[in-house]
């Protein structure tokens, strides 16, 4: 069953996922851009799958295309749930 969506829970999910893509944990912050982290569109597509698995929230290509920072991604998921 999907986990309850809170900003803290989503942040943890995103922070846990990024190192799997080769991102250094110490580089991750809400303000870090995915470009800085060398996270590209296919990585983001995979992040969307992880979010969907965890929270049942589907992120569309258009939504994902707009996000620039780690914080944007977290806010998008939280807002979509609300």
């Amino acid at each position: 069953m999907a986990t309850t969506i809170t900003p803290e829970a989503v942040e943890k999910t995103v922070y846990d996922a990024l190192p799997q893509f080769g991102v250094e944990e110490s580089d991750i912050s809400r303000d870090a851009t995915f470009e800085q982290l060398d996270v590209d569109s296919l990585d983001l597509a995979e992040l969307s799958q992880i979010i969907e698995d965890e929270y049942g929230v589907q992120l569309k290509g258009d939504d994902v295309g707009k996000i620039k920072t780690v914080g944007d991604a977290i806010d998008l998921v939280v807002n979509r749930a609300g």
Binding site: G22, A45, D53
Partner: protein, 408 residues
């Protein structure tokens, strides 16, 4: 102006170990890389060589090519910075199958969890050209780039086509390579049903012995052993290589390519297509058959291949066939499909530079019909000035590549 092509760097990942030098040291010792019925690159750990991101994105066949390319480019002396304008550097990395591992994983995910769970990396990384593309990204090389595919003849074609790309003037330096990672149950099942796999039984004692499964040219041979790996050769136009102070390792002087147009699995009678590939390679090199000292045979250990390849060598080389050394390193590495021709091209180059001819191991029972000198069981010290590598693939593809000692 005539453009001579030399090899300036080599890299390899094979069941005999990671690194070209390891492969040489182990073949010199007549070692077998076959365990449990397959030739797996068990010493290969992608995380030792690639970043997490690089390793995660690539199928195993691409990982092999990336690691072998790195070794080859370092030996050529330019891993960190290109010595040429980026558009003059190209790459042809062939594979027989491509990313079958990542493809099957994707299918499993689709079946079990539905289309929304299929990895976004599956498609770009299963394609046969992804190794060539990924290596180009890694080193920023923007010249001619593609994969060639001709089943088990792929490695020879990739190196030959890379050579011709430089001769045509489209590039000054090319990576020519083959890579393969076919060790999945589906491939074993398919080859098994073709009755193409060697049995891992010692023919004398009847006991289980996987290292005995590949026994090319032996009377009891009954099939090949599937293996995996990659080899990369850096090919370079001679004057450019000398101008930047690179050390030519050997020349690549001939390349021939032909089709049997006969059968999808069986080779043409008397190795007719193989004969034409060897003749074309000799003509391209502008040398006579008597100049060749060593042939690294395709030598798969199947009854038909080894018989017809032997006949083809006799037809092309005439009386000189009895003075040639002919060996099959597949007796030690197994058959790495699309990588085999590239691995064996390296073997030819190393044989020229070291004067050490690799043996055909597991050779105990001479076949009355197969009467060449197969360098049985032990490596041999001999002067080798010119060496030819044969490769043939399902579909009736044949490639032959000729290397010669570099003499300034």
């Amino acid at each position: 102006m005539k453009r001579d092509i030399v090899v300036t760097g080599i890299g390899a990942v094979t069941p005999l170990g990671v690194g070209a030098r390891t492969l040489y040291e182990r073949w010199r010792a007549g070692a077998s890389g076959i365990e449990d019925g397959v030739g797996a690159c068990t010493d290969f750990d992608p995380t030792e060589h690639l970043s997490k991101k690089e390793a995660r994105r690539a199928d195993r066949f691409t990982q092999f090519a990336m690691v072998a390319s790195d070794e080859a480019l370092r030996e050529a002396g330019w891993a960190d910075e290109l010595p040429y304008e980026t558009g003059r550097v190209g790459c042809i990395i062939g594979t027989g199958i491509g990313g079958i591992g990542i493809l099957l994983e994707g299918q499993k995910t689709l079946d079990e969890r539905g289309p929304r769970r299929v990895s976004p990396f599956m498609l770009p990384h299963m394609l046969p050209d992804s190794a060539s593309g990924q290596v180009a990204i890694q080193y920023g090389i923007r010249g001619p780039n593609m994969a060639v595919v001709s089943a088990c003849a792929t490695g020879g074609h990739a190196i030959g086509e890379a050579m011709e790309t430089i001769v045509r003037g489209q590039a000054d330096i090319m990576l020519g390579a083959g890579t393969e990672a076919p060790l999945v149950p589906l491939a074993f099942a398919g080859f098994g049903q073709m009755r193409a796999l060697g049995t891992p039984i010692d023919p004398d004692t009847g006991e289980y012995n996987p290292a005995m499964a590949s026994r090319p040219f032996d009377r009891t041979r009954n099939g090949f052993v599937v293996s995996e790996g990659s080899a990369v050769l850096v090919l370079e136009e001679l004057q450019h290589a000398l101008a930047r102070g690179a050390r030519p390792i050997a020349e690549v002087i001939g390349y021939g390519s032909s089709a049997d147009a006969f059968d999808m699995a069986a080779p043409a009678e008397r190795g007719e297509g193989n004969q034409r590939a060897m003749r074309a390679a000799l003509a391209r090199a502008g040398i006579g058959p008597q100049e060749v000292d060593y042939i690294n045979a395709h030598g798969t250990s199947t009854p038909l291949n080894d018989r017809f390849e032997t006949m083809a060598i006799r037809e092309v080389f005439g009386e000189h066939a009895d003075r040639l050394a002919v060996s099959s390193t597949k007796s030690m590495t197994g058959h790495a499909m699309g990588a085999a021709g590239a691995i064996e091209a390296y073997v030819c180059v190393k044989t020229i530079t070291t004067g050490c001819i690799p043996p055909t191991i597991n050779y105990r029972h001479p076949d009355p019909e197969l009467t060449l000198d197969y360098v049985p069981n032990e490596a041999r010290a001999a002067e080798v000035r010119v060496a030819l590598s044969n490769s043939m693939g399902l579909g009736g593809h044949n490639s032959s590549v000729i290397f010669r000692r570099y003499e300034d």
